[in-house]
Symmetry: C2
Subunit: 531 residues, 2 copies
């Protein structure tokens, strides 16, 4: 067994470690051969120092250089796609095709290229110039960013390749990746390509660094370290809240994407109209990838009646007929079971539970639960426990008013959906209910399931606590996701030659939008440009 | 003594109180006649419930109605200006003219009117439309906002009249004002005018509510309450950090403006060129209003040499010659003395200390301290203790390198300044030092003192922790300050008639800027508008 080195200050070097760990092939339940170190704080220290130096160097670079790096990195990932995908498949059991090779990897390189474009173009920085007072401001790099990637997207949300990474780098920040322990090998291959892209494009060697794991205490120390600019974290609520407490106490921004049950309200008129179609959408959305999505529809609200009973029967059939997928690991399987146990203990009935024996490796029965509106309202927090995986719970409410009370009792979520009759039969109910769900979710959908998260400038992959730590930011969508890793810097009567290029009278890039005297403009500052 | 009522749900009513307090005239050191209640949580509860209802009502209003309210309120403040200014003078000892009547009150109404314009115009909400995916998003009201106003700007930062208030209301949020205990009467008069403006413009009666004081525990409970959208707090670091911890743990956004010593680096070439002028600017900026500004220049860094000695001598003369102002109260005087004691104990020498006996009421000698660079670096945290008031400390460094180390050791601040030679003699030193100060401050100035905070769209009255709680936001400057009180709401394939007006294809306002398919545009959405 080879012990893999960490990447610090541009060198693949032996870790300062307390112990080692291995990844597991979820399909065989067997350990993979490579050993990865659990770093002590000495590695974090070294990475932070190197990242601070790199941050200072990048500050003097034109943004095009960062863009060139991101593009080169995307190219390199594509050139090594087969190997990266094979490793990701081995470590996560996610399907090679289409999932990893045709969806996630292209999404990853697409994000890197969109981030490159945003970095080179500069509009994201919201350069603001007030010619009357000669005060100028823009969004500047916040400093080294630590990215904790999740288990479920080894590339597209990966700590050295995903959306947080792309956003942090595009702003001009070095990234210290904290690999997810379930797929260290995938992260390693991606970090190798990042390092080579750094070399080829002449970026500071500590632009991208990787540490595989630390103790919980050291993780909390890292996000609170005064050398760090900010943290991006996607993962479990319990670990995330500990990191948040540590970062908050130190005043370090931390952007979290935590649990979300993503309420879906299906109103009677929609079921009367197209129950088959909706049942099929729901089963597909819920069980795709063994349901391991942050936007998995985990809480479906119906109103009692014959059409809801029929809908539930169809979904039960769908869950029973669907094959059982392999989960990302033992931890995911155990957490899923624990979540289901919480829901059951709080009064939910399990409607489907067979089939796990037909799956490979770490797997769990496709599980549909049901609970009454009354029971939900009697213990709403327990009945919102996230059961991450191929599982969902249907709440059957008495009437629209009770649906309203159920929505009022939901925590903050990433998404919320309504299915309604296309001819308007549910419109009164929608008007009553939508505002109540709206304030509890980041993204509101009509007539579609939430599992697709388009990389769109208008996307919000965020939402009120505890879905995230701040409802003003999105983790997906460029350029908006970049803002998280920036600080607002104002220049008050600073001499022209000392200004950053984005704030010069002469625009560094004719395509860049700047807010000049209150109006969005492209091109140079001209006196009297106020319209 | 009349006990004053609180304003909850549109009614001036008796508080649910634990006890009462009075304000003090700082000039006479005598209690003022009115008694104000210390509310129990029952008042907070009632205010939160009423605010939530008001928030839902406002959501359906066009933004012009909020603008109309803000304008009416500004007009009403002007109509009652003499009385408000007289009360503010009595409670704070700040000068009637020009300070209160000719600077702060016009600033207050100007901010309200700028906020009205921003609300009515809508560009601040950054409506973003992706026609390819039909995903749309904008910044929407975050919910009821609690504003804790500071002692030093009874109107312009007041809890029911200041910048946080104007920003929160412009977004469409009700405000629960927590009055500053040093000027409850001023807050009461302003709240009376707000209530009448609400009535006259047909806004929900709980749009503006006022509570005068709570226990510390209830304050922490209030900022953490799940009914609250966000908090704006300007005040002492110790109280602010307690509120931050409570709000953070609950996942409620809180925007803080805490202490700041605002480093000013004066380089030798500037002193050789114009020491008299700079000394005069510094003495004026530091002692104006008895130095009670968040951007007071509290830490001046010089390089040892004859010109610095001469500069210090001039400043000593200026401090000794200047009259001693009255402070806002006994608490401010005691804190100022405590801050000076901390600085002295850590090794700073007091260069000026006389004159307090000539001042009125609560006052303290104009105090200049001096410490060596070595001593500063031996205990940098203690030597950055804020001594809020007519006080500043000069650090005399050995050389440019030591100035760099001093800047590296500074905490986050609102502002940082450099004075340099106009012919370029200090440029090498500036290039070495400016990046190091830049990352620790929200606003960097050249050749001017930081105490002026223009209400400019490019202003950043913010900065890294502990100057504020998040370096991405500004408390002054419209429209940027509005974003703090908004949540990002995304609409994914939501049917057109269900969209908020700002996201319709047809622009509700021809002047409003929206980001349509990646480009800032005014006017309607037209397919193929991507340039």
């Amino acid at each position: 067994m080879a012990e893999q080195p960490v990447l610090i200050a541009g060198e693949w070097r032996s870790a300062n470690k307390s112990t080692v760990f291995t990844a597991t092939n979820p399909r065989t339940c067997e350990s993979l051969p490579d050993e990865y170190p659990v770093s002590t704080y000495a590695d974090c220290d070294a990475a932070l120092d190197a990242a601070c130096e790199a941050a200072e160097v990048i500050r003097s670079y034109p943004p095009e250089r960062v863009a060139t790096f991101l593009e080169r990195f995307a190219n390199r990932i594509e050139a090594r796609a087969d190997e990266v995908v094979a490793m990701a498949h081995e470590e996560t059991a996610l399907g090679i095709s289409p999932r990893l090779a045709n969806i996630e990897l292209p999404r990853t390189t697409n994000q890197l290229r969109q981030a490159a474009t945003a970095a080179g173009e500069g509009s994201w920085a919201e350069a603001t110039i007030d010619t009357r007072t000669n005060i100028r401001s823009y969004l500047a790099p916040i400093g080294p960013v630590c990215v904790f990637g999740p288990n479920n997207f080894p590339m597209a949300f990966g700590s050295v390749s995903g959306g947080d990474f792309a956003a942090a780098i595009a702003v001009g920040n070095p990234v210290i990746g904290k690999a997810n322990s379930s797929h260290p090998g995938t992260t390693r291959l991606l970090a190798e390509e990042a390092r080579l892209a750094i070399e080829e494009t002449g970026m500071p060697s500590a632009l991208v660094q990787i540490i595989y794991r630390t103790s919980h205490e050291d993780g909390e120390k890292l996000v609170a370290d005064s050398r760090l600019g900010a943290t991006g974290y996607t993962g479990s609520r319990s670990a995330g809240l500990k990191l948040k407490a540590a970062a908050d106490a130190a005043g370090n921004p931390i952007y979290l994407e935590l649990s979300s049950v993503n309420p879906v309200v299906i109103l009677p008129g929609a079921l009367k109209e197209r129950a088959d179609d909706i049942a099929q959408q729901f089963v597909g959305s819920c069980l795709m990838g063994a349901g391991q999505f942050c936007t998995n529809p985990g809480l479906v609200v119906l109103i009692a009646g014959a059409e809801s009973d029929e809908f539930i029967a169809k979904v039960v059939d769908g869950f029973n007929a669907a094959s059982v997928g392999t989960l990302l690991g033992k931890g995911v399987r155990d957490s899923l079971q624990a979540g289901i146990d919480v829901l059951s203990a709080a009064g939910a009935d399990v409607l489907t539970s067979g089939g796990a024996e037909d799956g490979d490796g770490f797997c769990h029965a496709n599980t549909l639960l049901k609970v009454s509106g009354d029971a939900f309202l009697a213990d709403p927090l327990a009945l919102q426990a996230e059961a991450f995986g191929n599982c969902s719970m249907i709440v059957v409410a008495d009437d629209v008013q009770q649906v309203g009370r159920i929505l009022d009792a939901t925590e903050g979520n990433l998404t919320g959906c309504f299915y309604t009759n296309t001819a308007g039969a549910d419109d009164d109910a929608y008007d009553e209910l939508a505002p109540r769900l709206r304030r509890r979710v980041g993204r509101l959908l009509n007539d579609k399931m939430p599992t697709g998260v388009a990389v769109s400038p208008a996307m919000n992959h965020g939402g009120p606590f505890p879905a995230t730590g701040h409802p003003g930011f999105t983790a997906v969508g460029i350029p908006a996701s970049l803002k998280r890793f920036a600080m607002l810097q104002c220049f008050d009567d600073v001499r022209p030659h000392r200004l950053p290029r984005l704030l010069w009278d002469q625009s560094p890039n004719p395509g860049m939008w700047r807010r000049i005297d209150g109006q969005w403009r492209r091109g140079d500052v001209t006196k009297g440009s106020d319209s």
